[in-house]
Assembly symmetry: D3
Homo-oligomer: 155 residues x 6
């Protein structure tokens, strides 16, 4: 199986923050952002593996700022590291104020997705070739994150 | 402000896994589970603080097993530690097979919620008094998790 | 088939009243409450019978008070009487004002659910053993409600 | 305030039964039907009163048959009796098999809706003039149903 | 195959404009109206053909006025012309102001639906007999619209 | 007001075709595609004008092929011509088969969006500078499409 460029899995999603996605104060629910993050990560991992995928874990997520009704959310994702049957997907979420056009980093997140064959068994995925310095750095630190996930699981 | 028993914020949510919540293989989306987790954490923190709340962060989440169409999901949440304006909420998700009644731990998760006053400014919350050994342990390790979140943010 | 304690089917659901669930005046739609009631009744009857269930009827429902955006809804359900293939489920809905924590009874409701086997045929269910005085009273008056439903159907 | 013909409030809604509205066996959820019933009753009462309305109660509902994925649901509603600020709305639901075109009565239901002014206070509504024998009969038996609702409320 | 009266496919849908269907200014999304139009056109074509149908094209749609939160939308549809396996459905959308009862034409639209058999292959449909002058005119101009669609496709 | 490059409004949205978006045969509803098209067109026009926008019209849409459950939909949009207060947005929709990665053009569509100020009045928008040959061609033919829309409106 030949390794694929991270461009293969690069995925962009743009969404409007609408009233039903927000609380009393017009602030978007964390859960809405998380479900957008999970959806784009699944699409990105599906493009890389050409298989159905399931979410195995999601790393610490900090909501650095919070989007409000009327903002434009832009999500960008690509696969940054791979195991035998798993893929780590890096997702960046920015919110954009309609009037000023100012973009603010809302959150970054790393999810691990597992590819499944038709019987629902984990199945092999190609490796990934990073295309940016940020992706290269994330590939190098993949082992460290795996370690942290195992520790959290054992707790 | 007097500290409150964790019983005050204890919240239970039961949900059916329905076809629109699942992928081709009838497996629930990680994002759906995450949005249920965020909703129960918000309710739990609202009961503790009697304020509107927003999600500040979510800790590493491992999906230990995955629920399928027809399963019953049970989520349980309570506040386990507090800062001046923030609350850590511990959420446990179990899935239950309809026929056998077997319950499986699907995931555990810790979210940090911040209480907001009417102008959207962070506002003070009461402390929490743990009621189980598990909650006591989580109160003791709160500082450690805070440290980890800061590290992740700085990366 | 051995009768089961009503604890087996006891189910709790907590929900936030969100903007899309409400009309112009921020008051929750009756239909939203009814669909939450039907969902918890189905889960409760599924826990009792370990079968797929369908709703056969719903008794007179009075909306005693109406929840508004930002309220916390708590639903509690359990099986209170059984026929050969049917179960009566009692559902209580309370709404809780966020700021004051005051809980108000929004409605009580009784639904009849029928258990179905894999071919969609009605299938036998265990009896129920009430655990509270309220449940005991509801078991005693089950025959009376059945009578009323038949009358309504014949009209 | 002049009484209005029941034609003023006559409302028709046609819906497709789609996969997300159904359980494992492709049978529509009772709660979905109930929420369609509540929506059409609200529209019907709004047409009659020209006010925002809320649901006060719903009478015993029997699900005489159950619609499946791909069926066409037809709901028909009109106001059949009125109090000073309340309206009784009669709703008939039929499901239609796509291939054969056979229509089956799924349920009939009577809801009480209350008109509200801009401050959320109950406000006066016009009387109703029945246009069919069925509506005439329902107008005559309105008092009886009111009696039954009060009894149920007191229980 | 005998031609059918346009009454066979006549379909009415009434909907409330709710907060989640609208943007910041309380104006309904074009996309929401379009998805209501597609749904009623599908039901209308299903009633005419007694088959599952898919949308093949939608003609130029002008939004003549825009509905706001609290308006009642009324959609009316019927088949106005047919090909061997396709049906043209004419849809009229009116919005009604709650307080005044004034109805405004929001849009008119013509969609082409294709009937499919169980293997997903296009399948023959009956002809249509118009019942109003408007429908007669639309039947006469069907060929012209077909021409325009082909031109647009070739561009 | 200085004209803007079409890059300013270029918007990409990627979506998974999920079971609730599809009919009995697993084929996506035309209405679902249309509502995705309307959403991306709104975002694109908002980026160009930095104003809230409403849909004024949508041109003839041909569904050239139809996406099925599990496909990845990719929508791409940008402003291609402008009036004083209106913007024409060109939207291309492709569906991608998961296993083979084959992309098929599902539809192309042109929508006219109008910018609104805070009082809901139409407000001026910048011109647009095309960046591709396709966009240049669409800018040249804008007048022709306007003519066609007026004709359709007058019919």
């Amino acid at each position: 199986m030949e390794a694929l460029s991270s461009h293969v899995s690069r995925t962009i999603v743009t969404r409007l923050v609408l009233p039903p996605d927000t609380n009393h104060m017009g602030t978007i629910f964390g859960g809405t952002v998380l479900s957008y993050i999970d959806e784009i990560a699944a699409i990105s991992a599906m493009k890389h593996s050409r298989k159905v995928v399931v979410t195995a874990s999601i790393d610490t997520v900090n909501f650095l700022s919070s989007a409000v009704v009327g903002d434009i959310l832009t999500l960008e994702a690509c696969v940054v590291s791979t195991g035998r049957t798993s893929m780590e997907v890096f997702v960046k979420v920015k919110s954009e104020d309609l009037e000023s056009g100012t973009k603010t980093l809302t959150t970054t997140s790393i999810l691990t997705m597992v590819a499944k064959d038709k019987d629902g068994k984990p199945t092999q995925v190609p490796g990934v070739i990073p295309q940016t310095l940020e992706e290269e750095r994330l590939l190098k630190t993949a082992q460290q994150r795996k370690q942290h996930r195992l520790e959290m699981r054992n707790q």
